[in-house]
């Protein structure tokens, strides 16, 4: 028998260590220490109900256990085999106690649909994929459904583009299918470029067959026989696994001519991108595949009319495709039951930043930010205060505490001034400076702007210069207004999605963290201590014993002796010349007397 105690940060804070100690002690008193082993585990992702204790092998799940409850659990459950009812999880819907964690699936915050096979199957073995139902969706389409029925099913499911913009996938397929032509293309956009997002790579590395299958389904639906995956060359393992998957599918007759004896032909080729962010935009992506410069062009014509080689093409993101086979096998009605009113299904997020459980998560649409950060993510690192969460990468924005209870879906995120994006989610605490964050994303867009249209090329550069000015302590209140003016013009006038959304990080931080901008501009202060030029290092003359270690450490020779000798000290204290100081912090890390501080 095993007693598993949650050792995640949340449970740890609420006495899980004491619970473990009590278990060990009481079990030893009863002479059961050899029969029952007590172990500490990682986070259960259910911190609100912590501390959690799970008894194996009967999967009993106790919530909000207090150290004094341990004796009862040992006496009742472990010795007499009777579950301690009042500590069991209570189903909020029917107020019943649930004893067996296997039947508690509904409370779990995460549901894996797109990631269903990641971490389960060997991605380089098609047999394991077939054993989990792989290619059945394709088989069902080819033998039981007409192309129009496939499109209708996907439309009905409510699946929307997971690349970030959220266009209804079935509608997109339908538009393309209308332009019947002897040569049409299914394109998979695997040019994942948002800083911090890696869900597409994980899907291709963990379940490449789902992409192969979905592309064939799409090909059947729109009438295409060629599939192209545009993938960045910096994803070598994903490329390798896709190549293996394509080769195996061909060998099994699941790609190629006359698939499953139905007369349907489809094959897939890989195209490599050099890793330019703008090539995630569908027209730029298509030009890059044609061997031209990766620059966007004006829409219309949409790719559905004139795409790759001017032929009708349908472009979908990796995660979008990963959802398709299961929608076909389980049906649109099933998919519709998951998610929020206007956004169906789940979304994968790469949860990163100042959070305890950094990870790749998949949650139903409509889950709140609070659940993601405090339950699945296990809260903020080091018990610090939550400040903001950035979603949508360089096209998105920063949300703050007032948005914690926002139910995440495409529309609510846009309403809150951010966007879904491909699914990067960076959590920030009080040690992050929001002006610096806005600057970071703008630097990224400036670097990745293709330079074709002037609002994006010049406008973003001007905005970046203003942000530089502000973080250097030279900003004025007029600059803040100028940022808004420029942002409005860029949003309206830029050619493609990259430019149109590039001011979002600045706008959302201006909206949600106005005080912080004003502080930078008026008080010349950065409360997070990130903007170096706004920092001042000072030595407390009364604490300094004059040892001179800081002066020795200082690479800029900015520290010298004063004439002041504090009471009880023998040597004169030191002082920092702010005009010479380069704010490297070498003095602070060397001072044993805590005499130096940053102001």
């Amino acid at each position: 028998m095993h007693v598993l105690c949650c050792g995640g940060t949340g449970c740890h804070a609420s006495a899980s260590a004491q619970i473990i100690e009590n278990f060990k002690q009481i079990l030893a008193e009863k002479g059961l220490q050899d029969e029952v082993q007590v172990v500490q585990t990682g986070c259960f992702g259910f911190c609100e109900k912590g501390p959690i204790v799970k008894i194996m092998p009967d999967n009993t799940f106790y919530t909000q256990v207090k150290p004094e409850d341990v004796e009862k659990i040992v006496n009742e459950h472990i010795i007499k085999g009777r579950k301690v009812t009042d500590l069991l999880y209570m189903d909020p819907e029917n107020q019943e106690h649930v004893s067996d964690s296997k039947h508690m699936g509904f409370y779990r915050k995460q549901l894996r649909i797109a990631l269903r096979n990641c971490g389960f199957v060997n991605p380089e073995n098609i047999d394991e994929c077939i054993a989990r139902g792989g290619y059945e969706g394709l088989g069902k389409c080819l033998t039981e459904m007409t192309p129009q029925q496939v499109i209708d099913e996907v439309t009905k499911s409510g699946l929307r583009g997971r690349g970030g913009a959220g266009f209804p996938t079935g509608v997109k397929w339908g538009l393309c299918a209308k332009n019947k032509c002897d040569e049409m293309y299914v394109i998979c956009n695997a040019d994942e470029g948002d800083p911090g997002a890696f869900m597409d790579r994980s899907i291709m590395e963990g379940d490449p067959h789902s992409i192969v299958e979905a592309m064939a389904i799409c090909g059947y639906a729109i009438g295409a026989t060629h599939g192209l995956v545009y993938i960045r060359a910096e994803y070598p393992l994903a490329i390798h696994r896709l190549q293996v998957a394509i080769a195996q599918a061909r060998e099994y007759g699941l790609l190629g001519n006359d698939i499953m004896g139905t007369g349907f032909n489809f094959d897939i080729e890989l195209r490599y991108g050099a890793g330019a962010f703008v090539c995630g935009e569908e027209t730029a992506l298509i030009h890059s595949m044609e061997g031209k410069r990766g620059e966007p062009t004006f829409k219309p014509p949409f790719p559905a009319v004139a795409g790759y080689m001017m032929k009708p093409s349908n472009v979908n993101n990796v995660e979008t495709f990963a959802n398709v086979p299961i929608i076909i096998t389980k049906g649109a009605d099933w998919f519709q039951t998951i998610g929020s009113e206007k956004s169906k299904g789940t979304k994968v997020f790469a949860l990163a930043g100042q959070i305890n459980n950094v990870g790749l998560i998949e949650v139903p649409m409509g889950t709140t930010l609070r659940d993601i950060i405090y339950e699945i993510g296990g809260g903020i690192k080091g018990g610090r205060q939550f400040k903001a969460v950035q979603t949508g990468g360089p096209s998105g924005g920063c949300l703050t505490t007032k948005h914690l209870d926002t139910q995440i879906d495409y529309d609510s995120l846009v309403a809150a001034g951010s966007m879904m994006g491909s699914g990067g989610m960076v959590v920030m605490d009080e040690t992050s400076c929001m002006v610096a964050i806005a600057k970071f994303y703008l630097e990224f867009t400036c670097e990745e702007s293709c330079g074709k249209c002037s609002p994006c090329r010049i406008g973003n550069k001007r905005m970046l210069e203003i942000l530089d000015k502000i973080t250097d302590g030279r900003g004025t209140m007029e600059d803040l207004q100028e940022l808004r003016n420029l942002a409005a013009v860029i949003k309206d006038a830029a050619l493609c999605g990259l430019g149109q959304t590039s001011p979002n990080p600045v706008l959302s931080t201006l909206d949600n963290f106005w005080d912080e901008y004003v502080e930078h501009v008026v008080d010349k202060k950065c409360r997070a201590g990130v903007c170096k030029k706004l920092m001042r290092y000072e030595i407390d003359k009364d604490k300094c014993i004059g040892c001179g270690k800081c002066a020795k450490n200082c690479p800029a020779e900015a520290i010298s002796k004063t004439n002041y000798i504090a009471e009880g000290h023998k040597l004169p204290s030191m002082e920092i010349d702010p005009t010479k100081c380069i704010k490297c912090g070498a003095c602070i890390s060397g001072c044993k007397f805590n005499a130096i501080s940053v102001k």
Binding site: E136, G261, I326, E362
Partner: protein, 130 residues
């Protein structure tokens, strides 16, 4: 490999493959077969998953343990890479995080050989549709 000629054939194949995998998991000889899955996406490999897998395979040979090792994709536990999942016959799979060579040895000698739990199990906190 003969080509799959129809949906019915694919379904038959699925059943057969499921059975093979089931037998591989349960087996006629339950003590003999333990399954270890190593999360090997780029990030897992970068965190050392490959070395750990190689080390475990050698160690398992040394200890004369019959273990089937497979690579798999991302399990999602970035905070605890490298991660491995150990499935003992007839039991639920258990995921271990932060597995370096020492922990790998500990898992083999304690959990696999003696059914003793090892600290730092990662509870599976998601549901998957099958």
């Amino acid at each position: 490999m003969a080509k799959v000629k129809s949906l019915a054939e694919l379904k038959a194949m699925r059943e057969k493959l499921q059975n093979t995998i089931d037998t591989r998991e349960r087996g006629d000889n339950p003590e003999a077969l333990v399954q270890v899955k190593v999360a090997m996406a780029t990030c897992g490999i970068a965190a050392g998953a490959k070395q750990v897998m190689e080390h475990m395979m050698e160690k398992a040979d040394e200890l004369k343990l019959a273990i089937v090792f497979t690579q798999t994709g991302c399990m999602g536990y970035c905070h605890a890479e490298p991660t491995i999942e150990v499935k003992m016959p007839g039991k639920d799979p258990v995921v271990f995080g932060h597995v370096d060579n020492n922990r790998a040895d500990e898992i083999l000698t304690k959990y696999v050989m003696n059914n003793e739990m090892v600290e730092g199990i990662i509870p599976v906190n998601y549901e998957t549709i099958g």
